[in-house]
């Protein structure tokens, strides 16, 4: 399996508190990598290292070697470019208070991917198609994105991320604010997207990890306890802590 991200000895500190200890993990291309673990164990923190979102937190400090396609994301890739290549979907749907069209067109305009109206329209349609939202919104592209339902908003956010043609999509508990039906839609979508993207998803639901991912990494108290093919982690964990977590002995 070809690796998209390789990370070695990643440490993250919030002020004096260390949130991630020496995590080394590789993330495969064209597959879904799930990160599970009890809350507060540093899953989100690790995920945010991958597109340098931790830079936006003044007290956060990241060290370690993180490479995208073999290039160091801190020294060899500009952060603006990195974030165009590594899109992110957040826990709570966060569409801009703009029209559906402008939400999707935001990224392409920023990066100069499309300037002509017709090109933009094509990108918007394609992204919404990929996010499985086109049929629901094609008649009201001008209405505000904030007016959609929670599940639609989250798919809008996925479409917005897709619109800049990223190679990687990071998702931080994308379904935690959604109802079961909307969740099922997003999971279906993730399964389709994996054909073309590298996807890393943080989830607190082990069932979800089992359903959507090919590989799973288990975090505990800032440590990466173990990682490997999802089936293996769930049926035959090597570490006692993993075993305890997936059998529900602590959460």
């Amino acid at each position: 399996m070809e690796m998209k991200f390789t990370t070695k000895n990643v440490n993250v500190y919030y002020g004096d508190a260390q949130a991630i200890n020496n995590v080394s993990l590789d993330i495969p291309d064209r597959a879904v990598m799930a990160m599970i673990g009890p809350s507060g164990c540093g899953k989100s923190t690790y995920l945010r290292c991958l597109n340098r979102m931790n830079d936006t937190i003044p007290i956060a400090r990241v060290d370690g070697d993180i490479r995208l396609d073999g290039h160091d994301i801190h020294s060899e890739i500009d952060v603006v470019h990195l974030r165009a290549r590594v899109g992110m979907v957040f826990q709570k749907p966060n569409p801009f208070p703009k029209s559906i069209f402008d939400n999707i067109a935001y990224g392409p305009k920023l990066h100069g991917i499309a300037t002509k109206k017709s090109d933009l329209e094509a990108i918007v349609e394609e992204s919404l198609q990929k996010a499985g939202l086109w049929n629901e919104v094609k008649d009201r592209l001008g209405s505000p994105g904030t007016g959609l339902s929670g599940g639609q908003q989250q798919r809008l956010c996925i479409a917005r991320a897709i619109a800049v043609s990223p190679e990687v999509i990071l998702m931080d508990e994308p379904c935690s604010a959604l109802d079961p039906i909307a969740t099922a839609k997003i999971e279906e979508l993730i399964d389709e997207l994996r054909q073309n993207y590298c996807i890393a998803i943080v989830t607190h639901s082990m069932q979800q990890a089992a359903r959507v991912s090919q590989r799973t990494a288990f975090f505990h108290l800032g440590d990466l306890v173990e990682s490997g093919p999802t089936t293996e982690i769930f049926t035959n964990p090597k570490d006692q802590r993993t075993q305890d977590y997936i059998t529900g002995r602590f959460g």
Partner: protein, 458 residues
């Protein structure tokens, strides 16, 4: 006298509290759970019965007694006094009261002294009577309240509805005062419009309110066209906004999205100090520092700048409003959720792109509201323009000339000796009413906008 009444009432109220409490406790022989309300509420209950009626009586007495006293004095006054015109009679009574209470009267005449004699004697009767009535009312209230204490008494409910009532009365007083001010403005303004047609006032281009007070004076007939004044106000407000809006907005953006916490913790208080500078200080800063400097600069490049100019007043007023704009804008910018900043950053936007394309559009309604509030402050600002803008009602768009504003004209119309029913004086009320209407509308619109915007993100 009032001091003694207050002290005595306070003592009775304290006594009432402890009596009520004690009686409630003993009525259930110490078994608190048998009481409907906590013992302290029984205390407050009796205290309210003791204090409130006496307090209300004292207030009423305070306002009614002087009227009654005046009536008594007048009924015993000679014909020469009772036939005085109302304003003179008012002065007369004020003098009488002053003499009787050892104050400083405007003049002392035998009539006044005689009247003061009567006034003084009735005054002390009134005071003693008030003392006696207030105290007996308090004691009676205490006794009554105490007699009503029993375990099932819903003391907390009664106390809280009383407190509720008091709060309502207080807010009603504030509202009534406002209504009163509006009506007095309206009333006096109507008297003005009875002399000067409304359209002349609103659309006239000449403002020279000097009218002859005596027939032999050369004073002109008086022109009350307010357009030059409105124009001057508008010009100065515009200049002030040109200063305050960009600087205030930029500093708000800097503070909310660029400054580190340490910088923020220093800069914000400094801006707030700026907001605390008394406007009169800004006023003489404008008149004594900025205006001469502008004049010198203008002179050096061949421009003729008046020593009192719209520019000087507007610039300084703008500086005064900066903290107002910046702190309101800072609030609305901070109210834009962090998740939108994250979303934008996650798509590869730089900080400034995020601000321009996400934060500002999202915060725009709130910012517009903040600016409108700032405009209404600028329009109502007085001290700076009185000191630095000038008095001449020029109809000009040139910021280098002296102009005058609504507030300045109100001040000049009312300062000094006035006849209170001349058109000149009444014009101030018409101007005040206009000012009030404009700022009211601006404030209502601004608050609406800000509110609607807040609802969106809560």
């Amino acid at each position: 006298m009032f001091l003694w009444i207050a002290v005595a009432l306070l003592l009775i109220i304290m006594g009432a509290y402890y009596t009520g409490r004690g009686r409630a406790v003993s009525s259930v022989s110490g078994n608190y759970t048998a009481l409907h309300s906590l013992p302290s509420y029984h205390g407050y209950y009796v205290a309210l019965w003791a204090g409130l009626p006496a307090f209300i009586l004292s207030i009423i007495w305070f306002f009614v007694a002087p009227q009654v006293l005046e009536g008594i004095v007048l009924s015993q006054a000679p014909e020469s006094v009772t036939s005085l015109p109302p304003e003179r009679l008012q002065v007369f009574m004020a003098d009488v009261a002053a003499i009787a209470q050892g104050g400083i009267p405007s003049q002392v005449t035998p009539e006044r002294e005689a009247a003061a004699e009567i006034y003084g004697s009735y005054l002390s009767v009134s005071n003693w009577l008030m003392f006696a009535v207030a105290i007996s009312l308090a004691v009676a209230g205490l006794t009554y309240g105490r007699a009503r204490i029993r375990p099932r008494l819903r003391a907390r409910n009664s106390v809280e509805s009383m407190v509720n009532l008091v709060l309502i009365i207080c807010s009603t007083i504030a509202i009534l005062t406002t209504v009163g001010i509006v009506f007095s403005l309206l009333f006096e303004a109507l008297r003005f419009f009875a002399r000067v047609p409304f359209t002349d006032f609103l659309f006239g281009l000449q403002w020279s309110p000097q009218t002859a007070i005596r027939a032999d004076q050369v004073g002109g007939s008086g022109e009350f066209g307010a357009v030059p004044i409105f124009a001057g106000t508008f010009l100065i407000t515009l200049i002030a906004m040109f200063v305050a809006v960009p600087i205030g907005l930029m500093s708000a953006i800097y503070l909310s999205d660029y400054a580190s916490n340490s910088v923020r913790s220093v800069v914000k208080p400094i801006l707030e100090i700026l907001a605390g500078v008394p406007t009169v200080v800004y006023g003489f800063f404008a008149a004594l520092t900025v205006a001469p400097t502008l004049r010198a600069w203008g002179g050096s490049i061949g421009l003729d700048v008046a020593s009192e100019s719209a520019l000087a007043a507007g610039l300084v007023m703008g500086v005064m409003i900066i903290p107002f704009v910046s702190s309101l804008s800072d609030d609305v910018i901070n109210a834009v959720p962090q998740s939108l900043r994250d979303a934008s950053a996650g798509l590869g936007a730089t900080n400034s792109e995020t601000i321009r394309q996400v934060i500002l559009p999202a915060a725009l309604p709130g910012i517009v509201g903040a600016i409108l509030l700032a405009v209404s402050r600028a329009i109502g600002e007085t001290m700076i323009v009185v000191m630095a803008a000038g008095l001449a009602a020029n109809l000009t768009a040139n910021p280098l000339e002296a102009v005058t504003t609504v507030t300045v004209q109100i001040v000049t119309l009312l300062v000094g000796d006035q006849e209170f029913d001349s058109a000149k004086t009444l014009a101030a009320f018409a101007l005040g009413l206009t000012l009030f209407a404009v700022t009211l509308v601006l404030n209502v619109i601004a608050l609406r906008i800000v509110q609607r915007y807040r609802e969106k993100y809560d």
